[in-house]
């Protein structure tokens, strides 16, 4: 690739620390290796790098000065929330300041009547719903990582959850953002009204992977909590039948609150881990939830059961009470860590496909398991076509990591081929940057770079992520023709 991997320069580090120390308290700066080591990666542990400096600002004024200082000194800045991201979006650089927003933990205002919460970006996703619970309200997007991930990270990735088919993604549930551009200029996007004058900059900022703005305040929409919810667990003896059952539910005019699928290896791993009561003999299980008033739930559950039966479900269980409903979901929500127990490492992919292509893509993944000699359980946000194949590998074996990356690349390119996308919710980061060259042409990529320049002319905010340079694509294209074998697979690919 074009860019050389930068190295940590001790003299430069001293200079930057001195400049930031001029206005930041000592506790807000880390630069000794033992202190910065915990920040070397996010949830994508295959990629690691030590940051030059970690800054932990506590006020917006400090964020602004950090950005102004770094802009003046030409130091790149990498924003970070809780570091649960799965695409390396918060991966540090040895020549950059890692800007941790972890201390922005206050809920500034919660207005139950207006159904909004104004929160700082370091507030955990679940903490918003917990704070709203006493008014019968909640924040709808619920990524499986919701106990740990921050709303700032959610905004940057446009995160989804198991309920987003009905309730939308982050972009559908955020009303306004405040923050700073890399130059340290304050910006406010959106409002507490339902729209704002001018272009929809909110839509651009959400999902921009920390490349356009540093977010310091998020206004989210709160929804009234449904009175009741029940989930149907259905077994299928064939994965494709389960896929067709999903289509049948949608075709019947039902928009379930959640519609998730797990194949047998994923089901077994989850069952061993949390004892959710899953059918471990089924080729795949579906979890299909209805919510609303008790009467509405009964009506919908009956329709869902009839459709699933008609689609060939071999077993149907409906949750009888809230405890059982949560138990059924616990296995799905813990699917990643459960898979983590059966393998030293796992590599989580995130393609979205038209649902009707599910069978084709799963067959393809099955063939790749054989080709690369690696196992790959699948969990699937079936309702919206977002597939998470989990390749099991051992990171201590560089050869296995290399095969894993090739496996992943082939799956993502397949997703594009069948009309889908390389990432449904985890973002491009550093991980899928090469596949961006497959999904987009040079002119779209150029447009992305131009948008980046409109916000950050110096290109200092989270550089090297999300959008590949055209030079990089040219090189990847060449390599790809040779069979996808990357030189120096052990090096992090910035």
């Amino acid at each position: 690739m074009g860019e050389a991997v930068p190295r940590l320069d001790a003299a430069r580090q001293r200079e930057v620390v001195r400049a930031l120390r001029a206005f930041l308290p000592e506790r807000a700066l880390l630069w000794r290796e033992e202190d910065t080591r915990p920040y070397e990666c996010d949830g994508l542990t295959a990629y690691r790098a030590l940051p030059m400096v970690v800054a932990l600002p506590e006020t917006e004024a400090q964020v602004e000065r950090i950005l102004r200082t770094c802009s003046a000194m030409q130091v790149p800045v990498v924003p970070r929330g809780a570091g649960t991201g799965l695409s390396g979006g918060a991966l540090p650089r040895p020549d950059a300041v890692l800007l941790s927003m972890a201390k922005f933990m206050r809920i500034r205002r919660l207005d139950p009547k207006a159904r909004i919460a104004v929160v700082e970006p370091g507030v955990r996703n679940l903490a918003i719903s917990e704070a709203a619970a006493s008014w019968g309200l909640y924040y709808a997007p619920d990524p499986s990582s919701q106990i740990a991930c921050t709303i700032g990270g959610n905004v940057a990735e446009n995160s989804g959850g198991v309920h987003c088919l009905k309730y939308g993604l982050t972009v559908h549930n955020v009303l306004a953002l405040r923050g700073f551009t890399m130059a340290g200029e304050p910006i406010a996007l959106g409002s507490e009204a339902l729209d704002s004058p001018g272009y929809d900059l909110l839509a651009l900022a959400i999902g921009s992977e920390g490349l356009l703005v540093v977010v310091t305040e998020v206004t989210v929409k709160l929804l009234p909590k449904p009175q009741a919810a029940r989930v149907v667990m259905a077994s299928f003896d064939d994965v494709e039948k389960a896929g067709e059952a999903v289509a049948a539910v949608i075709a019947a005019g039902i928009v379930p609150a959640g519609l998730e699928m797990m194949d047998r290896p994923a089901t077994r791993a989850a069952e061993d881990f949390v004892h959710a009561g899953y059918d471990t003999e089924a080729a795949a299980i579906l979890l299909c939830e209805a919510d609303g008033t008790p009467e509405e739930v009964e009506e919908e559950i009956a329709r869902i059961e009839a459709v699933l039966k008609g689609a060939g479900a071999t077993r149907l269980t409906v949750s009888r009470d809230e405890a059982e409903r949560l138990r059924f979901w616990s296995g799905r929500k813990a699917a990643f860590p459960a898979v983590g127990r059966i393998s030293p490492d796992y590599y989580c992919m995130d393609g979205t496909i038209p649902r009707k292509k599910l069978g084709e893509v799963l067959r393809f993944i099955g063939e790749l398991e054989k080709k690369y000699g690696l196992r790959c359980p699948n969990v699937f946000h079936a309702g919206d076509g977002n597939l998470h194949p989990l390749i099991l590998y051992d990171a201590n074996d560089p050869e296995e990591l290399r095969r894993t990356e090739q496996f992943a690349a082939e799956v993502l390119e397949k997703c594009v081929e069948v009309g889908g996308t390389i990432t449904g919710e985890h973002g491009v980061g550093v991980e899928k940057i090469d596949q961006m060259c497959v999904q987009f042409g040079a002119e779209e990529l150029e447009t992305f770079h131009a948008i980046k320049r409109a916000f950050d002319p110096q290109g200092l905010l989270n550089p090297g992520k999300a959008v590949p340079t055209l030079a990089r694509c040219a090189e990847y294209g060449r390599m790809h023709v040779r069979g996808g074998a990357l030189p120096h697979p052990e090096l992090p690919r910035f």
């Binding site: 009547k113 972009v171 839509a203 949608i250 008033t293």
Partner: protein
């Protein structure tokens, strides 16, 4: 003037995927008829403002109808676009799947940009099933009570899909499962509207053919937080979106209307008027104006697409 109506037709529609892709010149009415045949709909309930409305115009204008407050706006349902930018380059953003975070979300960003950034060639939209049951209720209430009621109901899990208040009468539409609509109707009370009458009423609100919209006074659209207190201007008012949209037929000076909207935490657009020389849209902050100019340059460096259509400066 570029007439896009020749570029018409639905390119792909798979009801079980909840996605439809249509060329920009496809008549909106034709697309909606196709969706109805499959029990589906454009959930943002777009206004047509005449028989000639096209899919591209609908997305470019970014206007949503009565269902907006409960289900979302046009931009919430845009999944992907194919466009021609100001340099004549054909570009594709987003796609035909529900979740897609590859690259900046340019497709949503272009919704509502009034054709000033790119010419839409094709759009992919998320569609939803039509609700199995629908019922509209009418209640007599003054403005303060109506605002209070709409916001109170908004805090409860009720299947309200539209609200409209004018001249002391609040109309509420419920949509959803039979049981949910029945339970909510009992809770809200009021007089039920006959099915036909209800359909005509919501269509007239959406299309602005309701008598409220007649007359020569300028029509202002005030988008404010739903909980904003009553806004006092000379003239007549129609409130939608649970309180978040306040239409005013008023001859009050633009500065007064804009100040009232800003004070309420929102913004005002001069929606229809004989005289629009003062600009239709609320002015932007200097930081945002700078970003708008920069983004306009990205898509249309020569400034040939709808110059001055949104703001005189670009």
């Amino acid at each position: 003037m570029l007439d896009t109506r020749g570029h018409a037709g639905v390119v792909a529609y798979e009801p079980s995927e909840l996605v439809v892709t249509a060329r920009c010149g496809t008549p909106l009415a034709e697309l909606e008829r196709l969706l109805v045949e499959h029990g589906q709909m454009l959930a943002f309930e777009p206004p047509h403002f005449g028989p000639g409305a096209t899919v591209g115009g609908c997305v470019a204008a970014g206007l949503s109808g009565p269902r907006r407050a409960s289900t979302g706006a046009v931009r919430d349902f845009v999944l992907g676009v194919r466009v021609l930018d100001g340099r004549g380059r054909e570009l594709s953003f987003g796609g035909r799947v529900m979740k897609n975070v590859a690259g900046y979300d340019v497709a949503r960003f272009l919704a509502g940009s009034m054709g000033t950034l790119a010419l839409l060639l094709e759009v992919s939209l998320k569609v939803l099933p039509r609700p199995p049951a629908e019922r509209s209720l009418r209640l007599e209430m003054d403005e303060t009570s109506a605002l209070e009621a709409m916001n109170r109901w908004g805090c409860e899990p009720l299947p309200i899909s539209a609200t409209a208040w004018a001249a002391g009468v609040l109309t509420v539409r419920l949509s959803g499962a039979q049981a949910a609509v029945r339970a909510a109707a009992a809770k809200i009370g009021g007089e039920p509207l006959a099915e036909d009458e209800a359909r005509r009423f919501w269509e007239a609100v959406r299309e602005q053919t309701d008598p409220f919209f007649s007359g020569d006074a300028p029509l202002w659209r005030l988008s404010v937080p739903s909980v904003a207190s009553p806004i006092a201007l000379a003239g007549r008012q129609l409130i939608e979106w649970g309180g978040a949209l306040r239409w005013w037929k008023t001859a009050a000076p633009a500065a007064e209307v804009r100040a009232a909207a800003a004070k309420a935490g929102g913004h005002a657009t001069l929606f229809r008027a004989a005289e629009k020389s003062g600009g239709a849209f609320a002015p932007l902050s200097p930081e945002l104006e700078k970003l708008h100019r920069a983004l306009k340059k990205v898509f249309d460096p020569a400034g040939i697409l709808g110059p001055g259509r949104m703001y005189p400066e670009f």
